[in-house]
């Protein structure tokens, strides 16, 4: 790989051991994909809580304040977990505080969300950013046309430290054309909720071989933002798709030809009702009807989603616990709007945590004996990780069915008729 003079100095260790290790990792990753050089990033996004502390310390060793902006992924909130009575919360405090201390010393921004675009922080079309979090990678790539490559949490820390990322994959305009095309058969889309789009995206991710960009056709044009987001974010859960052109909705896909660049795709795959019925069923991993916990906000909730939850909870009391993953500013807006009071009086809670992989109510290493044995969610991504990482039973269904389950403490959701 060709390095600039400054990059050579970083590599030689002149700017400290952390930056040296970080650039070494970026070079080795870039080499394995034949990247010719590194590119400066507009900003970086890291996850300090998910990063093993030993690795975090290696990469930040001797690093001073960065000139470029760096933001953060959903964090742990062990002090709040403790307030909520989760018995193992104390185990998480010290490491969290130590890493947060470094994060603040570096001058990085505590956005603590996987949906930063809801805070007005998002890359413009063509801009290069590096980030942790496959769901924000696919959202920024697809919905805003930014140039974001698929990247892990450790590598994204290295990129944030150095302010650079290997010039490879989806950063290169020639690699951004769709190589697979999904044709969605005509259905009654007017009845579709976010859960329906999640289900479609999760199915698409599973059937696409590899990580090359895709185009999705057959859906109504100019999809509502929350629907388009629900469609793309579950793709890198069941698979590795990190750029999905939704024809008629996303900026690089006014039509199919623009999305494919006129190049014949490797695969053309039809998706119809039978595939969606099977996928919806597969997301439900349960054999009884009790619901201990309901998880919303994977990815972090929009104000409309919170408004819909609140509209069903006026004067109600929840039988199950309910966690809404939301950023601090969106939670503040929900409270300003009166939604927060309704939800909290019913027993629901807000927190800027990941409500799937790191859901404190569903994790045995946080909740201990209080761990939920069964969870309901309207997110395919959450359904997948609650079952696999947290090991709970899972009900997947619409937002309405999930709110009802929280009120009644049992699942009465039905499979959609499509």
């Amino acid at each position: 790989m060709k390095l600039t003079d400054e990059e050579k100095r970083i590599f030689s260790g002149e700017q400290g051991p952390g930056m040296q290790r970080a650039i070494d990792l970026l070079i080795r990753l870039g080499d394995s994909f034949d990247a010719e050089r590194l590119m400066p990033i507009s900003y970086g996004h890291v996850s300090y809580d998910y990063c093993p502390e030993a690795f975090w310390n290696l990469m930040t060793d001797g690093v001073s304040k960065t000139e470029h902006r760096v933001t953060s992924h959903p964090s742990y909130q062990p002090k709040t977990w403790k307030k909520w009575g989760l018995p193992l919360a104390d185990n998480w405090v010290d490491e969290h505080e130590r890493k947060l201390e470094t994060f603040k010393r570096l001058g990085w921004l505590r956005t603590e969300t996987c949906a930063e675009y809801l805070l007005g922080i998002f890359p413009r079309k063509g801009e290069i950013v590096s980030m942790s979090g496959s769901c924000m990678q696919v959202a920024n790539n697809s919905l805003f046309g930014a140039r974001v490559d698929r990247m892990g949490t450790l590598v994204s820390l290295a990129a944030a430290v150095c302010g650079r990322t290997p010039y490879m994959g989806l950063l290169k305009p020639e690699n951004r054309f769709a190589r697979h095309v999904i044709h969605v058969e005509k259905m009654n889309f007017s009845d579709w909720t976010s859960a329906h789009f999640h289900c479609l995206g999760y199915h698409i991710g599973a059937v696409i071989p590899g990580f090359k960009p895709i185009a999705v056709t057959g859906l109504p044009e100019r999809l509502y933002f929350d629907s388009a987001r629900a469609l793309v974010i579950s793709m890198p859960t069941s698979g590795a798709v990190t750029l999905a052109h939704v024809v008629g909705t996303t900026p690089e896909a006014p039509d199919l030809e623009a999305a494919t660049g006129g190049i014949k795709p490797e695969n053309e795959i039809k998706v119809g009702v039978s595939e969606l019925i099977r996928t919806w069923e597969s997301l439900n991993v349960c054999d009884y009807s009790i619901v201990d916990h309901v998880a919303f906000g994977c990815p972090h909730a929009t104000i409309d989603e919170i408004g819909m939850i609140a509209s069903m909870l006026e004067g109600k009391k929840l039988k199950s616990t309910m966690l809404i993953g939301a950023s601090i500013p969106v939670e503040a807006l929900a409270k300003r709007q009166g939604y927060g009071k309704i939800i909290e009086q019913a027993g629901g809670r807000f927190l800027p945590v990941c409500p799937s992989i790191r859901n404190p109510f569903a994790r045995r290493d946080v909740a201990g004996e209080m761990q939920a044995t069964s969870c309901a969610t309207n997110s395919a991504r959450a359904a997948h990780y609650l079952a696999t990482v947290c090991g709970t039973k899972v009900f997947f269904g619409t937002l309405k069915d999930c709110v009802k389950a929280a009120i009644n403490g049992k699942w009465e959701g039905r499979f959609p008729e499509w």
Partner: protein
């Protein structure tokens, strides 16, 4: 017999092959504290990948896959090496950062030539896969 492949992460390893004709993520598919596959209804559910040469199609899933790989490696529960048909950046970053030898783009149909239980040796620095012994049937 030797099969050539493309280097992702350098190093040498040997062990029993485990094949899975699908994508894999270190986050959610593998419990880093036991080395076992955790996905409900997965054909490898409950099987330990620790110390195995794990062969699959490609990477997938959460960007925290590299954190899980790092923890699995530190706890001694990671595969000894991995081989896949074509890697993607989360998987490649994971094995490079964690120091797990890895290769992709093998120059022969490894799903045809290698079976689960075969004892194989790999040199990911040189980019070679050798089948030391086929499992006795």
């Amino acid at each position: 017999m030797v099969i050539n492949a493309h280097t992702i992460s350098r190093g040498e390893a040997e062990g029993e092959a485990v094949l899975y004709k699908g994508p894999f993520s270190f986050m959610g598919d593998l419990d880093p504290f036991t080395g076992k596959v955790t996905v409900p209804r997965h054909e490898l559910e409950g099987l330990s990948l620790a110390g195995k040469i794990f062969i699959f199609t490609t990477g997938k899933g959460s960007s925290s896959g590299d954190c899980a790989a790092w923890v699995a490696k530190k706890k001694g529960n990671a595969p000894a090496a991995i081989i896949c048909l074509e890697s993607e950046p989360v998987l490649s970053g994971a094995v490079i950062a964690a120091g797990i030898p890895a290769m992709d783009r093998p120059e022969a149909d490894i799903f045809e030539m290698i079976k689960t239980g075969d004892f194989i040796k790999i040199n990911a620095t040189e980019g070679t896969i050798s089948i030391a012994m086929h499992k006795e049937v």
